[in-house]
Symmetry: C2
Subunit: 196 residues, 2 copies
């Protein structure tokens, strides 16, 4: 059996990291759990990452730039109106969460809860991720306002931050209830009240 290239090993560890951290939490899994999930020998781990925390930071980045950003592209599609894009974005996210049985939740939220007090590096990353995320949503809200799809002319940045905060909370509750009810309720409230 051919050996994996160095790049492949690193990639596998990143993806296994995202999966394993999402499922079990940063402190809820071991480095061995991750190498097992990646199908990589334990000893290889430290050739690619200097510590578990370093993998945490890299996996978070990987999740955001290679995984979550695909969904974010919905927000800039041109085949839908801004308001439709927003709705589709949260409906897609709901469907994805349903598909995995409401386990895991959002890696960004999980890492925020577990590590923001203890890993400054990851806290800074999380801050940047939330900023970018909020900015994208704000842009879409701004466009919806310009298109006359939203009554309120409140500050889009303020609205976006509030909406994403509520989304994080809804994800938490969906995970507890193992049902899409909190997510559906979030969408309904969002579009019938806040972005009416």
């Amino acid at each position: 059996m051919a050996r994996l290239s160095s790049h492949d090993v690193r990639e596998r560890l990143l993806e296994a990291g995202v999966r394993t951290f999402s499922k079990a939490g940063f402190n809820g899994c071991s480095v061995q759990d991750i190498t097992d999930a990646a199908g990589v020998p334990k000893g290889s781990f430290y050739n690619h990452f200097e510590s578990k925390e370093a993998l945490g930071a890299a996996a978070l980045q990987h999740y955001w730039t290679d995984g979550a950003c695909d969904q974010l592209k919905i927000l800039t599609r041109l085949d839908m109106s801004p308001r439709e894009r927003l709705r589709t974005y949260f409906e897609e996210a709901t469907a994805e969460m349903a598909q995995i049985g409401f386990t895991c939740g959002c890696l960004v939220g999980n890492m925020a809860a577990e590590l923001s007090d203890h890993s400054p590096i990851i806290a800074i990353q999380l801050s940047a991720i939330f900023l970018g995320w909020s900015g994208q949503v704000a842009e879409c809200i701004r466009a919806a306002q310009a298109a006359g799809e939203i009554e309120s002319n409140a500050d889009p940045d303020q609205l976006a931050a509030f909406v994403l905060n509520a989304w994080e909370g809804a994800v938490l509750r969906a995970r507890i209830e193992k049902a899409d009810r909190p997510l559906r309720q979030f969408i309904q409230t969002l579009f019938t009240i806040l972005l009416r």
Copy 2:
């Protein structure tokens, strides 16, 4: 030095559990961390709780019924109007979070992120806590609507769930940023847009 009564030891473990789980997370601290924080011998732990998870469940209950409920009483005070009560409630919570330097966050949210997939007992408790919490806030919103303090006549339960979701998200972001900005912004958005 006189020995502590059995009841005191249990109480100390509960309070140390709340403190330690809040600071370090459930998987981020050891049983010994908790017994040290409680100032009780480590051998005593299993005389009072059958497992770390059992303490987790008991501490969560203790936090909710003996700690957080004090703040919840603001929502039913009669010396303020319903809308004022709501604002005071979130401002008090903001002040408390500022006082501890934006570490810890909310035990309910932290445990939800860390344990809702792995501890059914705690998941059920979390579900009940959110339900009760949401109900209290909904009642206050309903009263505010009745008093004509809020324009929107949207379903109070739906509003309350959305508001608490957003609060959980805001707490997460305040913890990341180590600043009250996300909490202040939450309050501002809440009262100038959602509960206008």
